[in-house]
Symmetry: C2
Subunit: 372 residues, 2 copies
Amino acid sequence: MPPHCHPTTVYLSAPDMVRLVRRKGLSACIAGVAERIEREFLRWHDFDKSARLACHSAVGVIELMPIADASQFAFKYVNGHPGNHRHGLPTVMAFGVLADVATGAPRLLSELTLTTAIRTAAMSALAARKLARPGSRSMALIGNGAQSEFQALAFRDAVGVRELRLFDTDPRASAKLAANLAGLGLELRLCTSTAEAVRGADIVTTVTADKTNATILTPDMIEPGMHINAVGGDCPGKTELHRGVLEAATVFVEYEPQSRVEGDIQQMPADFPVTEFWQVLAGTRLGRSHAAEVTVFDSVGFALEDYAALTFMRDTAAELGIGDTVELVPQSQDPKDLFGVLRDEPAFGTAPAAAAAAFAVAARGQRLRATA
Amino acid sequence: MPPHCHPTTVYLSAPDMVRLVRRKGLSACIAGVAERIEREFLRWHDFDKSARLACHSAVGVIELMPIADASQFAFKYVNGHPGNHRHGLPTVMAFGVLADVATGAPRLLSELTLTTAIRTAAMSALAARKLARPGSRSMALIGNGAQSEFQALAFRDAVGVRELRLFDTDPRASAKLAANLAGLGLELRLCTSTAEAVRGADIVTTVTADKTNATILTPDMIEPGMHINAVGGDCPGKTELHRGVLEAATVFVEYEPQSRVEGDIQQMPADFPVTEFWQVLAGTRLGRSHAAEVTVFDSVGFALEDYAALTFMRDTAAELGIGDTVELVPQSQDPKDLFGVLRDEPAFGTAPAAAAAAFAVAARGQRLRATA
């Protein structure tokens, strides 16, 4: 029999992730995740991809988003419930796992609520860097909820946006966003309508939560050369753009099979032309072709972005010594003898305090290995 | 704004589950899960069902198995890697989650490795109670790995099996099984071939791990009236029965769309007749029709069984005061202000000891609510 091997699962709780982002810095995290996303998108064909599995109810959606390459399997659990604030809960909550493809052992369990906001902003900014007009400085930010600060900072850092025009149907959301962004080097303008916010903007980011076929942006608002970063049209029956906006634009998506079902392009015929963004990164397809072109990044969120975010957070946690371990898999002396775990007193009969101490030792061991 | 509400996630680690099963008793757990499976199968149409999402590699498979009714969403992560024992790891490792459909909040994170063995045995025994000949006393158990003890006990308790004939290509596996079952009221016979084990048996259970189109059972071994509980043919390219066995039998499955892809019936034409087992429970379809009929339960494992197991383990953990809580979701004073968690020192600046104490209080609160 081989030496006994216990599959250690590193655990990053929500408080751990808050500590990690504070210590690493939010801008550094967004940039780091963007770099990973770019790297992974450039090896697109290495991944076993599928559209996410969605479970819809009248009030929201719960999704599982798996993806794998030859060495790692990743998945994210994520919900979208626009009415959650009435229960004091976030609209979007998420967590995820990295596992070894070779054995199936889970290696990382991590919060992904904060991380999803970071990776979505990173993805948006990465796309805008390729698709927005060079020298874009102003952005309309429509929808000023939980994700809006992350979008603002990502566009400030990655694209050079300096002026933000804020609009939300709830003026308190805009006030919250403005307060959070104070002193961060952005000129802010509170607007009273989408049209006012969009007028003259180089970039328009829509990140609204309502699960409806909304028409946040109509064709009359669109100006030549605009880049539209449409983040909030991301499940069947949930769109943000009037179809005329799509008709007048060059449209980029993450993973076409999923975007046809979930994106703003769900409104369009199945042969409506779109470009998968990885092809722009790879240089096999053109991004923006001229200054007057209207570009749309019809973003729904794809599992590969979470794979990139999970690996970034795993490595950053190891670097900073943040995180714990969890025993998701039973230990037994003989892996063919699962029944034996019910009998092996020594392995599990330890007092809680001793078990906690053993966990701590395991956690330190994991960190040493991870940073070695 | 509504009162702040923190989504508490109960956590049952692998050691917690070992404690739970020891205290409740393995037989009681199998019986309890079987009861839940029966209850849930009887409201089949309440569930949003889908075939599981499988990610195959050369050495194994990793699967996500989601299901939901109007109130709860459940999923299981599970792998199958027949060569894992060479790494000192179990062939099958699993964990799962229960979440509120109304908000998407994760409510339970639980190990499911031990639990999967329990629920698979419970499902097998539940099916055999309806499909095996009344008075069945002898069972051949082909494949004596991690799941075999659980199958043996489930059939002892639920079906009245008293005699077991054991066979495995690895005689050490059979020896391990025999040792584990000593003193548990079963007459054991170690056999040197499948044919020897099967001859004269009332029930044949195959629970082998190899990911091949194996022919563990061939038509010549099958006797009138046998019930075949085929557990180990559960993914594309992984079967246990010769197609002649299926042709000569009445075949029952869990969820037809999944079984057509994964079950032993993957070898048969798409119109090969099968009965979904829930219909037998509901009384809308016949189970065994006469004593000489050969019945096959072509089991692959369905998400609804894990839903049943997760809810049973959640309730039993609450009853016994076992388990902890994890903070998978960030706390913020305003759910629309995710960015605020990076600023709110008081919420996360507490020392680890104080945080641990807060967790413990939350865990107790959860238990009180769960048992109320």
